[in-house]
Assembly symmetry: C2
Homo-oligomer: 228 residues x 2
DNA sequence: GTCTATAGTAAGATAGAC
DNA sequence: GTCTATCTTACTATAGAC
């Protein structure tokens, strides 16, 4: 259990009484990290305007001046924090997408895929972040565009590629793969997502979720699957 | 051009020099209406927390004390204004729903219906209101539940009834009408709505909109229409 | 880089005259 | 019911010591 000096001005001594000087760079980035975590929690709980820099400094254990040295202003802090966490969030969805074009049973693969997406996207922390971004879009349009673009690039993108290939192989008949992907998402993940957007307390157990995803995939395949 | 005394303490005289005393009830409800309009504009522009009661009083032309006499607090004002406008908003969608079960061509009727929905729901003012409600759901969960319930009751509801009837008549094969409606919405209106939610500047011209709606309806019918 | 202390401002809400 | 004037509080941001 190493001593972690929290910025105290007093020297910290090791077992032999020798002062342990914290690496200033590490100390700074630890504080930076603490500020980011505290700010995210505060912004998620209060929204941008009601969040107070005072509360963020209290949560993070640093002083107000330090926060301003690092981030300059409340706006810049918000953009850094929220813009920084979005790619992390979407990165979780990427591994699910691999190898769809080569799956033995397309229906099973699509149900698995959409169910995995839904389980992640419906998580309360991600739903809260989504509501925050949507609610602040007039003030921070960059974040809205970023969120939408990430979703398109990291989720829809691979699916579009897979459908295009399956179309070429004659397995699917998809004249507009881009639109088809958006329809699939709307008819599967979009259904419980809409409910959770407006009713945070709404819960979908795994069985219900898989039933809805399977029904949406069947809807999709009824139109786009060829006989082959 | 009738004189409309805006609460001035000086008497207003008619053409014969006779004081025109404004009906106090009417004057009060005119002010109430002015406050509501000003508050809605301010809340839409700034969000709940950043909206200032000072700005609302300026916009409405009444004093701060009057606003508090009428609505008691900022929270109550917000609930009254937003909760009051939601039914009005959804009422616009109701007439579109009538007479679907008896339509001669179901596909045409559904394309017309979803396109009409989309044109209303994508309007910037309604999209802004939607973002406001979503962004403030942690603070005002009532509004989220109200929005979702209105959408379900006034839009999905009639469609569920129509699909149930068409199922009984053998025109459709819809084992779960409620889910089917949500899928149809997700695959039609939901597609451009998602884009507009995150990119307010995104615009869909009528031709593009109808193409997307028609494609979504075809998707729906490929699964749920019987041969009959 | 980090802190304490504070400047300067604007917010929500109310008192009291009319 | 309505207004003007004001109370109290909390906010963002900064100055200056270390």
């Amino acid at each position: 259990m190493a001593a972690e000096p929290a910025g105290s001005s007093k020297d910290v001594l090791d077992a032999d009484g020798i002062p342990v000087l914290p690496d200033p760079a590490d100390a700074a980035s630890r504080k930076r990290r603490a500020i980011i975590d505290a700010a995210l929690a505060e912004f998620l709980a209060e929204g941008y305007s009601a969040a107070s820099m005072e509360a963020i400094t209290s949560r993070s254990g640093v002083s107000k001046a330090t926060v301003y040295k690092h981030f300059g202003s409340k706006e810049r802090l918000f953009l850094a924090v929220v813009g920084g966490v979005l790619p992390t969030t979407y990165a979780e969805l990427e591994p699910v997408n691999s190898g769809l074009a080569g799956a033995p049973d397309l229906r099973t693969a699509l149900v698995r895929l959409t169910t995995a997406w839904a389980r992640i996207l419906l998580r309360p922390d991600i739903m809260s972040l989504r509501r925050l971004v949507i609610g602040e879009i007039d003030r921070f349009p960059q974040l809205g565009r970023l969120w939408y673009r990430l979703g398109r690039d990291m989720n829809d993108g691979p699916l579009v590629a897979a459908f295009t290939e399956l179309h070429a192989r004659g397995v699917l008949d998809v004249p507009d793969p881009d639109l088809a992907v958006r329809q699939l998402v709307g008819a599967t993940v979009g259904v419980p997502q809409l409910a959770c957007t407006f009713s945070p307390e709404a819960a979908f157990d795994d069985a219900e979720l898989e039933r809805v995803m399977a029904s949406g995939v069947d809807l999709f395949l009824a139109r786009y699957a060829t006989g082959a």
